[in-house]
Structures are given as structure tokens and as C-alpha cells.
Amino acid sequence: MATKPNANRPISPHLTIWKWGPHMLVSILHRLTGDGMATVGTVLFVWWLAALAGGPASYEAFMAWFVDGSGVIKPLGYLFGIGLTLAFFQHMASGIRHFVLDTGAGYELKTNKLWAQSTMLVSIALTAAYWAILLKGH
């Protein structure tokens, strides 16, 4: 484990070598959205919960970053709100695709490409629908 890696060992081709396609993009997006939520999402989620537990003043201070005094969402609110919603739905759709792939289905080239593309269409559609409902309620 702590031994020095052998420089002569063959390594897997990386992003610059593979030809780009939907199946490759969706794999990168799965890692990007997952790790993005795990870092940025976790900090915001824990900050939000701790601020709520702290009482009205600390909750107001948290919300002031994202929503102005009259309840209008600020650019930062849209950036993190829509960004994290899109990341969640993309990771969710891609994760469901992984569950299907785990059964051994969906490896035919055309099917694989179609499902990879579908995860992106689904995540954009769900994000748009979710924010339409959220903004309508306000």
C-alpha cells in the first residue's frame, strides 16, 4: 500500500485519449456531480442545519446569502440552488442507469448511448420542473 508505484506499469488511457461520447460524458458527470454534492453540497447542507438549530437570527444570516429581504432569490441562491438540484437529478438518473447496467443489461452500443443521453435529458427536465414548482409557490 505505501510502496512506491512502479513507473513502468501500464496505465489506463485518460480523458485526452478516449473519443468523447454520451456514455463517457455521463460517466464523468456522475463523478463530477457526486463529488460536487459531497463537498459543496455537504458544507451548505450542514451550514443550513446548524443555522436552523441556532435559532431565528443565525437562520436569517444564512438565508441572507441566498435570498434578499423581500424574498427575492439572489444570484448566489440560483447558482447553488439550481446547480445542486441539477447535480442531484443527474446523479440520480445516472445512478438508476448503473442499477440497470449492474443486471447486465444495456451494454449494446445503441442502447447504451440512448440511456446515457436520457439521463441528461431527464435531469434537465426534472430540474426545470422542480424549480417551476418551487418558484410558483412563492
Binding site: G34, A50, I96
Partner: protein
């Protein structure tokens, strides 16, 4: 490498008996996340407002506090495994071990703050 029996030299280096647990736990928590995160997103959308009284009143209910604690357990365990794989893909040697150690501290520390916050609201109710 040199001293010790053949068995002693390889013990602990492979995935024998426990290699599948990471893969399986990732799927197990993914299924949990799917249910709990959809519930969380739906709850936020269904609340009439997102000001302090509404949010604290919502989280003070056991029907919100218990799923929220389950969500923290499932999601945080899941993301810790995901970030571990990221570290294993890009770091080697001592850097890898240090990063995974820091990752564990980050996960457990942030989960403790999250669960404490939920319990505080659930047990003491909304502050006026």
C-alpha cells in the same frame, strides 16, 4: 519483502472475503439515498414558505427529523465511499492514506454536526 511465510506476506493485501463490501454498500446506500433524497426534495417543495418558523416547525416533527437522520447516515456514508474512490484513483502512497484519513474526519465531523442540529430542533422545538 523477504522474511515471513508466503501467507504472512500477502495477508491483508487482497480483497479476499471482503472485497465486495464496498461495491455492495455503495448500492445499498444508493437505494436508501434515492428514497430519502426524493422525500427531502418533495418536502422542501411542499412547504408553504422557507422562513425560520416554517422550517424549524417542520424539522421539529418526528416525521421529518427521523427521515432526516436516516438521510444523513445513508448519504454521508455513500459520499464517503465515492470520495474514497476518487482519492484512490488520483493519489498514491502516503498522500492517499492522509487524504482518506482527512476524508473520514470530514465525513464523521459533518455528520455529527448535522445529526446534533436535527436532534436539537426535534427535542427543543422552534425557538421564538
Amino acid at each position: 519483502m523477504g522474511s515471513g511465510t508466503d501467507l504472512g506476506r500477502v495477508r491483508g493485501l487482497g480483497s479476499s472475503k471482503e472485497g465486495a463490501h464496498h461495491w455492495w454498500h455503495q448500492r445499498l446506500t444508493a437505494a436508501g439515498n434515492l428514497i430519502l433524497m426524493l422525500w427531502f426534495f418533495a418536502s422542501l417543495a411542499l412547504l408553504p414558505a422557507h422562513d425560520y418558523p416554517t422550517m424549524a416547525g417542520w424539522l421539529a416533527s418526528p416525521l421529518a427529523a427521523v427521515p432526516m437522520i436516516l438521510l444523513v447516515a445513508s448519504v454521508f456514508y455513500h459520499f464517503r465511499m465515492g470520495l474514497q474512490v476518487l482519492i484512490e484513483d488520483y493519489l498514491d502512497g502516503a498522500g492517499r492514506i492522509t487524504a482518506i484519513l482527512l476524508l473520514s474526519f470530514f465525513t464523521i465531523g459533518s455528520a455529527a454536526i448535522a445529526i446534533f442540529s436535527i436532534l436539537k430542533i426535534a427535542f427543543t422545538g422552534a425557538l421564538v
